[in-house]
């Protein structure tokens, strides 16, 4: 927040009464949307503290009329599962490299697409973006066959590489769009000063793209953390000691059939990490990263 205040002068002057009144519709719309977005989640949160039979027979808001229903049983049940912490740690082991690798690989490609000239550049670029539409389900069988041959099945490396491949079209698209918007003069003056493309990339393009890289890191981490399908196919039964949290949750809810209310408790336990990543990286969405460098 402090970065925003420094670079936005209008935040420093005290708003007059008229300014505040003028902002009233803004507050009304923002708060209305926040309430609409929150209600479904609050329903799940409240239900995660109620016994299963009560959840199915009465609305979550009844909780506020009968607070004695409150129970931590759902959380206790989820947390007492054998190996749930292993699943949690495995999810981190899977998600962190599966976020870092595609960001680097995509940044190289995005820079080449944005600032290097070569024949067929635009066509190749849209083919890369077009690969976003390939349904992942169609790739599992051929990839699994090759993984089996080279003995990658069940390993973390198998999912890191797979998530990199699957995440690259979006990552390249987002970063190329952002890098393409950077001012041409910056790169031209760097080239005149004798900087190599590697220097221009590491010293100019990457620092100036920090907001886009932060956004990409948030989403790639989120997709991998919440992924069930890719983990199920490439790790799954082949090596259950490497299974991520999502597989544990799916087994917990699935094996017990009717115990779907446990999902609420499981969902809130699982959400903690991606929300932490979001809060941690949100401070990079600040004004002035690009604006400042053009003048220099």
């Amino acid at each position: 927040m402090s970065e925003i205040a420094v670079s936005a002068p209008r935040a420093e002057t005290r708003p007059s009464f008229r300014d505040r009144l003028g902002h009233l519709p803004v507050h009304v719309v923002v708060i209305f949307l926040m309430v609409v977005w929150l209600i479904p989640t609050i329903g799940l949160l409240v239900n995660s503290f109620r016994p299963g039979d009560v959840v199915t027979n009465s609305g979550w808001w009844q909780f506020f009329f009968e607070p004695t229903q409150a129970t931590l049983d759902n959380y206790a049940t989820v947390l007492s599962q054998a190996n749930i912490w292993t699943g949690f740690i495995n999810s981190l082991f899977i998600s962190i490299p599966a976020t870092i690798i595609p960001i680097f690989v995509a940044a190289f490609a995005a820079y080449a697409f944005a600032w290097m000239d070569f024949p067929g550049r635009n066509i190749l670029f849209v083919v890369v973006v077009g690969l976003l539409v390939v349904p992942l389900q169609t790739t599992f069988i051929p990839i699994l066959r090759i993984y089996g041959q080279v003995g990658l099945e069940g390993s973390f490396l198998a999912v890191w590489l797979a998530h990199t491949g699957y995440g690259l079209p979006f990552a390249i698209y987002l970063l190329r769009n952002f890098m393409g918007e950077l001012p041409r003069e910056v790169f031209e003056s760097a080239a005149i000063d004798g900087a190599s493309p590697v220097t221009a990339f590491l010293r100019l393009a990457v620092p100036m793209s920090v907001p886009a890289i932060a956004a990409l890191a948030i989403f790639q981490f989120l997709f991998v953390w919440n992924d069930l399908l890719v983990a199920l196919i490439y790790i799954g039964a082949a090596n259950p000691t490497n299974d991520p949290l999502t597989i544990f949750i799916a087994n917990l809810v699935g094996n017990r059939g009717q115990d779907f209310w446990l999902l609420g408790a499981a969902a809130f336990i699982s959400m903690a990490i991606p929300l932490g990543v979001f809060f941690g990286l949100q401070r990079y969405f600040v004004r002035g990263i690009v604006g400042g460098s053009v003048k220099g």
């Binding site: 925003i4 209008r10 803004v26 923002v30 949307l33 977005w37 209600i39 479904p40 799940l44 009465s58 609305g59 082991f93 962190i96 490299p97 690798i101 190289f108 490609a109 820079y111 290097m116 070569f118 635009n122 190749l124 670029f125 849209v126 077009g130 690969l131 976003l132 539409v133 390939v134 349904p135 389900q137 169609t138 790739t139 990839i143 797979a162 990199t164 491949g165 699957y166 979006f170 698209y173 987002l174 769009n177 918007e181 190599s196 493309p197 590697v198 990339f201 907001p211 956004a215 989403f219 999902l263 969902a267 959400m271 929300l275 979001f278 949100q282 969405f285 002035g288 690009v290 604006g291």
Partner: protein
Amino acid sequence: MDPRLPTAIIVVVGIPAVLVGYILATEQVLRAFPERLKPRIRPWLWLAPALAFLIFYLIYPTIGTVISSFQDQFGKNWVGLANYAWFFSADDGIGSLVNNIIWLVLLTAITVGVGLLIAVLVDRVRYESFAKSVIFLPLAISATAASVIWLYMFAYQPPGHAQTGTLNAIVTALGAAPIAFMPTSEFKFNTVMLIIVTAWVWTGFAMVIISAALKGISTELLEAARVDGANEWQVFRNIIFPLLLPTLTVVATVMIITALKAFDIVYVMTNGNFDTQVIANAMYTWMFTNGNFGRGSVLAIILMLTVIPVMIFNINRFRAQEAIR
């Protein structure tokens, strides 16, 4: 201590080191080539890691899908265009395609429209960070959990009984009869309901990317316009919106593709019943439940073909961007 911790540290430090090392090494490699050839070889060295991943994980399997689409269910005999003919005659074919078009229009309009609205409005309030977190929250929830949440929202009890669903509690509190929302065959807007659930999840995605672009617009430019007497609407219409347009195209493209690939919410909430079938769910059912790879592959191919108009639009836009910068 987890015995894998040292491995983890090596991986987290080692992988970036290897990747940065690779890009530094490209210039060393280029030294071996005459000056004239360097600019022609360099882009391919920068693209090589990405292309290797894409060819292996996406292009190679897609070639297999194209081949399967001309074969029978066991992938043994060639059947020509029989699977394609099936697509145009089956309920799972055109019906799914129509539903996907409804998805495409509504999901893209809601997520990009509301995402833009929120990104622009929260830029003016002090609780920006908190407001954005609230809209972002559903993205952190898995599709299964999101489906359970919305089954609580849509739940229906006959008139006279206490309602357990949030929406029907509101409807009956307002004095109206409860609505038998999905999943029922009488309800005509099942697909719209699934789209609302998905939009609730994805609006935060649109908002975060649009907001990141919004922060890239220079404050001086906006202040100058305000000093010149432009009102807030004119500032938005004439400065902010045009500058956000490239980002809005990216977000809209990703949302269109998300709508075309719509799968998990449909799979969990209705599995394509009650007129909610979409191509990706039909593909999954034909491939993995019915074990017919020929038909499943045709559905995948149709899905991939629908993206071509979007990509043509993108090519034109990138040419325009390069012409002006």
